[in-house]
């Protein structure tokens, strides 16, 4: 059967609809196909989605409520000096928008998300809520062993949801599907880096967000379609600077912010948005024990990140490498307000960049920020400063 590839406009429309759907109707629809179907949500930044998928379930990335959700009850649970994502996530749950999720996994990223796991247990005792610890000790015999035990325990918790015993073959199969997906996401990022005018970050971002919810094969197909179609879009390069955005890994910037960055003269050539789709940087082994393969991928092939102990190579080194690889002109630190992991890293990054003579700029946002004036001014000046001065007075 031949299938007509959707156009770029159609893909954008579809992904935007998914992004804006705070009711997760896709999940409902997916589940309605069979009574045994289950969906499990997970918080940013990383989740070994293969495990959920292999259990016959839909992994759903929950990334807060964005800028269209009014916070009515969520503030009842969080002080003003905490970041925004937990309150909007609670709001989603209290307003029954997450009812289609049979469980939630809270990966170890920071104390806020960690405590959120306990809050979930108190508020929704009937739902599965798991905290998933990641190793900070990267010795396979120590951290690796511990992480494997964590994964096993998660696996059995999941199997309680649909009473199906875990199967290694299923996990291997899932690993293959996600490997393919990751390769395409990587292709998308590479294309954007080489021809940023062709792949606006607005679109790339929506595509990534779609991957948070769509079934992995469907998403892979969508990526493929986009990559084929976008090549023939009549898009022209502009006089923009190339930047890498760092710090937006958990609470996501509002779409308006991404647009503002682009309009103020920046091509984003790398970023840490929706990081779960790119956390693992190489194919996960599809031979041998699949759990072991997941553990190994985490220990050896995961990206540098604020909630991962940096070990002997400071994170700014990785960032500088990234700047070079992506031929970026500068770095934009965009962190959510009150995000300790991102904000505590920033001065180190800045220092490293300064020593390397790489331009950078910093601002904070919240997922529901509606005012971009300040940011526009700032980013506009940043891009002005990088491009106006080639022959200035």
């Amino acid at each position: 059967m031949t299938r007509l590839r959707p156009t770029v406009a159609e893909i954008v429309e579809q992904t935007l609809a998914l992004y804006e759907d705070l009711d997760f109707s896709y999940v409902r629809a997916w589940k309605s196909k069979s009574t045994s179907r289950r969906a499990v949500g997970f918080m940013p930044v990383y989740m070994p989605r293969e495990i959920i998928h292999a259990a016959g379930m839909l992994p759903v990335g929950v990334m807060g409520g964005g800028d269209r959700l009014d916070i009515i009850k969520g503030d009842a649970y969080f002080q003003s000096y905490l970041c925004h994502i937990p309150r909007s996530t609670i709001e989603l749950a209290l307003s029954h928008r997450l009812d289609s999720l049979d469980g939630m996994v809270f990966p170890s990223i920071c104390d806020v998300i960690r405590n959120l796991s306990g809050m979930w247990k108190l508020l929704f005792p009937e739902k599965m809520a798991r905290y998933l610890d990641f190793p900070q000790n990267f010795d396979p015999a120590l951290g690796g062993r511990f992480y494997r035990q964590e994964l096993e325990s998660l696996r059995s918790a999941l199997s309680e949801l649909n009473a199906l015993p875990p199967q290694d073959s299923a996990l291997t199969h899932s690993i293959c599907l996600f490997n393919k997906n990751r390769r395409l996401v990587k292709a998308l990022y590479d294309l954007r880096a080489s021809k940023p005018w062709l792949v606006p970050t607005y679109e790339a971002y929506l595509l990534l967000r779609a991957g948070n919810i769509l079934d992995v094969e469907e998403h892979t197909q969508l990526l493929e379609d986009y990559l084929v179609r976008v090549e023939s879009e009549p898009r022209k390069p502009m006089d923009n600077i190339r930047v890498i955005v760092v710090g937006s890994f958990c609470e996501q910037p509002p779409l308006g912010l991404i647009l503002t960055l682009e309009r103020a003269g920046c091509y984003i050539v790398d970023d840490d948005f929706v990081l779960a789709s790119r956390w693992i940087t190489a194919d996960i082994s599809k031979t041998g024990d699949p759990l072991e393969a997941l553990v190994e991928a985490y220990l050896k092939n995961s990206t540098f990140h604020s909630s991962k102990f940096e070990g002997s190579t400071p994170k700014w080194r990785h960032l500088i490498e990234q700047v070079k690889a992506r031929q970026a002109d500068g770095v934009v630190f965009a962190a959510p307000s009150f995000c300790d992991p991102a904000l505590l890293d920033q001065p180190q990054y800045e220092k490293g960049l300064e020593e390397a003579g790489i331009a950078h700029t910093t601002f904070k946002y919240a997922e529901n920020t509606g005012q971009f004036q300040n940011i526009r001014e700032q980013i506009g000046t940043f891009s002005d400063s990088l491009k106006l001065w080639s022959e200035a007075p």
Binding site: D70, I71, I72, K73, G74, D75, A76, S80, S95, T369, G370, Q371
Partner: protein
Amino acid sequence: MGYTLGIDLGSTTTKAILLDANDRIVGRGLTNTRSNYEVATAVAESEAKINAHFTFLKEAVDSSPKLSSQAAPLLNNLENRFHLVQHLHRVNRLRRQCLFEAAADRLLPHQPRLTTVLNALFDQIHERAERSFSTADVDRSRFFRDIVGSEYMALAEEQSRESSIALDLLMGLYDKSILVEENQVLDLSFVEAIQQAVEAAGESETLTRVQQKALREVVEEAASQTLEVDNMVGTGYGRQRLPFRKDQIRSEILCHGLGAHYFFPGTRTVLDIGGQDTKAIQVDSQGIVTSFQMNDRCAAGCGRYLGYIADELNLGLHQLGPLALQAKRPVRITSTCTVFAGAELRERLSMGDAREDILDGLHRAIILRAMSLLARSGGITDEFTFTGGVAKNPAAVRALTRLVEENYGTMKINIHPDSIFTGAVGAALYARHTQGGIA
């Protein structure tokens, strides 16, 4: 027979309530808070007493066979006249103060011209007051400062155009003088003012000689009633600085809870949006507070936010809500900060958005903040009472009603016409009931 007095020294307004021995409200006093809390308290108290005198007067007129037929217009007229007398008195004081400021050394070169301009300006204020106070509906929620301020501003603009005296200079004089004026207690007694009012009323009304005499008699009688205050309790933002004993001071949270219970015994949740703070309070069946939340020191969630916006638009506070109700395509306001919202408002206006549509968004913004506070205090339980100055604003009420319905379901929402006095009522109740030692 003794009365109790409750004073709620709010950040924007100071409220006083007089309760009689049966806990009936006989007097209400309202004034704007100013730098001198004692003055604010004294003014509110005297306003409450004046109001009580009018209450007595009304009773006397109603029961006087000679006057009862014309009671309503007569009293209304009398009250307007009374306030005009007070108002003009203050206008004159303000005029003197402005002239005095204009004589400052650094202004000497301008002084002759300034004097002329100021006198012309105040003559007009005077005239306008005569006119506006005689037409029946004066908006009493606007204080001296606001009424005179906006007139002064408009007239000063005119004058500065005509006379080449800088607007900033004229406004500066006003800003200085109003502060001085406001920090004085009114040196005009009820008796003096009411007599002048009666004179004026006598001249204008078609009263028979007999009626005029009867009027004088009831007025005299009402004026001579003494208001023995047995005990008083102060509450509110500035309570710590009230010249009261410690046991005469109660937290505004408690007073609000009790006051809301007084008006609506079924109340379980109270939302109070005042000038500088917003409180969400849960009370039990006795009006005793069980939990509460207050906002941070940020104007974005309270009445001052709307006040600031009203200033930006050169509107009176009371005009804001009705305008917002006419919104057709509500605008979502993106700034949180009041000052930034003001800038956003101006920007949007000049981009062509309608005033009412923006206003609707601004009202919604403040109510959204209140919703979050309510949630933090424990949600909303039937019956729900909305108090504070902002409860007078119909657009705020509408936004609240909608959001409550959407998020907590249908329930009874109470708003009392005297709701701004809720805290003062609570305080007056405490004043009565702590006397017997039931603290």
